[in-house]
Symmetry: C2
Subunit: 391 residues, 2 copies
């Protein structure tokens, strides 16, 4: 094995760079620029989820040109099982395979192993799991998931983590968190070795775990900060806990995670929660909600939700959201969309997803603008009072 001195590796590790543009003096919310090999991303950013190398219902052109999406998330677990990372590598990597010009972040596969696969067995070495597709057994190790994500050519990779269910005991959470830290250290070491040999730049983010225990979250973050990573993810949220608890867990590590590195809250959230995470120092988020809810006829608007199947929309000639400039809202009525939904037409999914993703991106734009123009606390107040009104 090629041995490279640690300081050499460290200096090579400008995989991605993060530039703080503005910070809210009151809340600490941040606006930044995340530079990647596939373009610069304005943060805070919401990343649409392209589980199987596609955001369901949208073309890559819809995403990049119409919606202006600069970074997508793809799922390591799903793509590892089908079509397989070796095929994707052979086809020139994930960007080329799916014809996506902008940045890609891939998760570690950990969350899906724990939520989707049948039988699974966790050891200190990694996790053995059964494919939800055909029942075949596979193994993920901290090293193998780095290799899989490098085969994809992801701009931002995640270190394998263990994502405990909710609730668990403090002791269980502690042991699990320690394993996640060890795995992150192994993944980091392996990633540095792999990076030393190649010119391409691929960042690796370790993931803060610790269930709903602030002390464990803090301990985990402190251990991960020692890795001097390109950025840090906060995982293990959205597993059924009350929202206030998720926020508390993000809060628990905000003073520990380095200010100059991007922070990514995984798998969140509802529209009204987006500014809450940002108010707690989060720069990146992803969630299946805008696309999944779209397909189920649940539409997000600047005036609240629209459940498109409701009879009241039968002859409603208005767009989903009169304040929205997406293709769906400029061309189609609620009445037509309701018809497509009830008829089970593919076009509904496509138009609804386009709108919901646009809604999320618009919210992120508003948030960023508010931070830069120093009006974020007012913006947050506004969102909170609107959310209270809606309850």
């Amino acid at each position: 094995m090629v041995r490279i001195p640690i300081h050499r590796l460290q200096s090579d590790l400008c995989q991605i760079s993060f530039e703080l543009v503005a910070e809210c003096p009151e809340t600490g919310a941040r606006a930044g620029l995340l530079h990647t090999p596939h373009g610069t991303i304005e943060t805070p950013v919401f990343m649409p989820v392209g589980t199987q190398a596609t955001v369901k219902g949208l073309t890559q052109r819809d995403l990049a040109e119409d919606l202006g999406v600069k970074i997508l998330l793809a799922n390591t677990y799903h793509l590892f099982l089908r079509p397989g990372h070796e095929l994707i590598r052979k086809m020139g990597g994930l960007h080329r395979f799916m014809s996506w010009p902008n940045a890609i972040l891939t998760d570690s596969g950990g969350f899906q192993v724990f939520s989707l696969s049948g039988l699974r067995k966790i050891t200190d070495e990694g996790v053995i799991f059964q494919s939800h597709l055909d029942g075949d057994l596979h193994t993920f190790t901290p090293e193998s998931t780095v290799d899989v994500q490098l085969a994809f050519g992801s701009d931002i990779c995640m270190a394998l983590d263990e994502c405990p269910e909710y609730p668990v005991t403090h002791e269980h959470a502690r042991q699990s968190m320690h394993r996640t830290v060890r795995w992150a250290q192994q993944a980091d070491r392996h990633h540095r070795l792999r990076m030393a040999g190649i010119a391409a730049r691929h960042a690796l983010f370790p993931i803060v775990q610790g269930s709903m225990f602030p002390d464990l979250r803090a301990e985990c973050a402190r251990a991960l900060v020692d890795l001097d990573s390109d950025g840090y993810a906060i995982g293990g949220l959205s597993v059924g806990e009350p929202r206030a608890l998720s926020m508390e867990m993000v809060q628990a590590t905000r003073e520990i995670l380095p200010r100059q590195k991007p922070r990514y809250a995984m798998g969140v959230g509802m529209p009204k929660e987006l500014p809450e995470y940002v108010a707690r120092g989060v720069d990146m988020m992803d969630c299946v909600l805008p696309s999944r809810n779209a397909r189920n006829g649940y539409l997000f608007t600047s005036q609240g939700r629209v459940i498109i199947k409701h009879a009241r929309y039968k002859d409603d000639a208005r767009p989903i959201d009169e304040n929205c400039r997406c293709y769906t809202c400029t061309r189609y009525s609620r009445s037509y969309l309701r018809h497509l939904f009830l008829a089970g037409e593919i076009l509904f999914s496509s138009l609804a997803t386009r709108h919901n993703v646009r809604r999320y991106l618009d919210i992120m734009c508003e948030i960023r603008h508010a931070i830069i123009s120093l009006t974020f606390p007012d913006y947050l107040k506004c969102v909170r009072s609107a959310a209270l009104d809606a309850e």
Copy 2:
């Protein structure tokens, strides 16, 4: 009831106009221009099918701007049942309801009543049928289907016809054809009355029937020509008969149908058959094949078919068709499309439909160009020998 002298009605009946641009001296194949209230259409034309006011998987922008589709077909039967013609009328007609800027042709509903609905009863007055959606009973009469299509605001409406299954006896086919002629006469009378009162222009095409009997086809066509309609449809094809027989049926009426009126062969055909219909004087065609086959992973190319699930495409970096300039072929590989298909992703349907429809439109372009440049007989020879090679 307002009574209007027949000659007044006749002179008002410039619903659409058809202009012959070129005619193949050898085969009689025609290139023309079909002028409608929603734009001019180059013929021969292939009309994609938008059964439920959507071509499955494509947005109206994809169709109009990307693919250059000038006329769509929508299904009267489906839209009558859901969302209902009264709702569509209330929403400003079908063009506005589905946000479609170009022309729309609607079928009579007859074919679907005979192929989709459960119980049905045909009388001289019309047909009583059971909805395939909820089992409710409905009635179509020659007059009511004109009213339904006028509620849609269709540029081109079809007269109610009876579409016998294949095979039937000569006597059955004769009785059925006579009923179709009577219905066409009633529809025509009703349509002229309705048109007299409004400024908008909506054409009505009667449909030639007669099963697979050339004498009945000819008799039917002669009776319909007396109506001096805006165009003529040839129905009752693609009901399971051998292809040679379909061609013979089209041939049976080509000298009877007026040269200066457009002719529409309903529900056809495979790519290699398109020029065959045109060679028999057909100007308009529609078929679900390009879109339905696309969704099933059956792709048409200039080099033959591609069954995308086949393992040989697993790592095939080429587009579906290297000669195609559609969005799908300029951006995505067979390998990626196969992955989307196997993963059951919506995007597959969308990309595949886009390509197949484009393939059909390209073929129609080639045919039209060949007619105008007087090379159609050579083109036809070429297509026939390629088809033989493929068998």
